[in-house]
Symmetry: C2
Subunit: 302 residues, 2 copies
């Protein structure tokens, strides 16, 4: 696909007005488009899901037809986008900044439904190999689930941590922030395009876990009347999660997990606090729990 | 000390003007005052450093002399402040919000130098008990150090994580954000008042560590030409940090650690990435590394 030589010099066009509306969920659904901002997220999108990219907008250093990209990363992305069959549009730094204050000179417009399909379609890709697991040469799948995560920055950060920990997928349970919210996408720094992101409601989630032979572990400080949480180091020492598929469920930023959700879990695990801090926030808790389980799992299979 | 019955109804007074200036570092130093905002941070300040609190401002539900506190937590803090000998001032919700948009109805003004003294004075409080350590009944001290941490939110979050991991103290090395920046204080959610926070420059830091018999571990993904990092799970398995005092040094948010800093370290450790994520941010890395070392250390001494 072509790169247009014309340098867009006005942000006040119908095209940019529609792009700016993509920060609104309803508008995204109606237009079947979403925006990916910043060099890191755009590069990951172009690398892992090139087929969903429709248009790439890049900042150039003048208004001349031969204007240069403002940095090499942006030039590299433009090349990838053209290979992928997307249209590349040049615009001035001012126009780019007006349309997306956080884009650092580059943003992409992509097909929402097509991305969603890719995101959920390969859910079954990482099937557990029981035989390898029995021999101790494979590690058991680890899945991260989040119930009612509402803050876009938190949602992005936990998806990034789940990716870093090598989780097979992320499940968003109940009423969560939309993952196509531009702030979520920025906070994932591209991890959104690395692993399947599933959404499901409370009534089907536990069943979904159990049908797949997964142990459902709730991350919670308090537990229920009947069941106190076990602490993470004890669970790490016992290592059941390294021998069988495990899904770790985290609660809402402010309210944690409701009793109804805790009762569905096979185990409740809390992170110990050794100092005087009262608590850890959701993003920190999820990073510590997922990564320490992943490290423990991988060490054993070395 | 008294609680004033008068309800402050105007934010446009000399008093509030001066309070609002405390977001500026130079003004804080000149006035020898700093502001602590929000119920959680104020409560921790009153609990752990009551003597430094000079004034407490709380939101009330009307302009009458018998106006009630807008919630019980605020009432409890007012009681603690009076016990501590601080002045308690009532103000309308609007005035409170105007003076500090993030205060959620409560902020305290405290003595900067006195707090700084308390913060650094008990540096030697947690002396390593060699004998206990030899018998394996004590865990070795863990210290968190940060070089050139610049973002207030990051600085606050890493101090909170160091507190949760039971670190003996936090060391800020080189040109870091001021810990009395209101955004740092908010992000610590009170941990700032829980453990000693020291500041020192690059030239004295390594010596300070070695004089105290500490192993200096640099957290870094790349290492130097001469020395590759070891991965965290390998280090956790080896457990040297559980037998001897360890200081873990983290680098700047964007640039990590410079070669000069890495060369001073006794060991270089990186967090493995198991998925496709390119990296973890500073706050996430620090939480994972400090907490996994703390958990590993505590498990052994159970």
């Amino acid at each position: 696909m072509p790169m247009y030589n014309e340098v867009l010099q006005s942000a006040k066009t119908e095209r940019f007005k529609r792009i700016m509306e993509l920060s609104n969920r309803k508008r995204r659904e109606k237009a079947n488009r979403f925006i990916v901002e910043g060099p890191q997220a755009v590069r990951e999108l172009l690398q892992w899901m090139p087929s969903v990219v429709l248009d790439l907008y890049v900042a150039v250093d003048s208004t001349e037809p031969d204007a240069a990209f403002i940095n090499p990363t942006i030039g590299q992305c433009a090349g990838l986008a053209m290979q992928a069959g997307a249209y590349v549009h040049k615009a001035t730094v001012e126009v780019m900044h007006h349309v997306s204050g956080d884009c650092q000179g580059i943003f992409a417009i992509a097909d929402l439904n097509q991305c969603r399909e890719l995101m959920t379609g390969n859910e079954q890709a990482d099937v557990l190999d029981d035989e390898q697991l029995d021999r101790g040469t494979a590690r058991a799948p680890l899945i991260a689930a989040f119930w009612q995560v509402r803050d876009p920055g938190n949602a992005g950060t936990v998806i990034r941590s789940a990716d870093a920990a090598g989780c097979e997928c992320v499940v968003l349970v109940g009423d969560c922030v939309d993952v196509f919210n531009p702030k979520v996408i920025r906070s994932t720094t591209g991890s959104l395009f690395h692993l399947p992101i599933l959404t499901m409601d409370e009534s089907t989630f536990a069943q979904w876990c159990h049908e797949r032979g997964m142990t459902l572990v709730a991350a919670d400080v308090y537990g229920t009347k009947e069941r106190s949480p076990r602490t993470l180091p004890v669970v790490l020492a016992q290592r059941t999660f390294a021998q069988q598929p495990t899904c770790v469920l985290f609660g809402n930023e402010a309210r944690g997990l409701e009793t109804g959700m805790l009762e569905q879990a096979d185990d409740i695990v809390s992170i110990p606090i050794y100092g005087k801090a009262e608590s850890l926030n959701l993003a920190t808790s999820a990073s510590i729990m997922l990564m320490s389980m992943a490290m423990s799992s991988h060490v054993e299979t070395i």
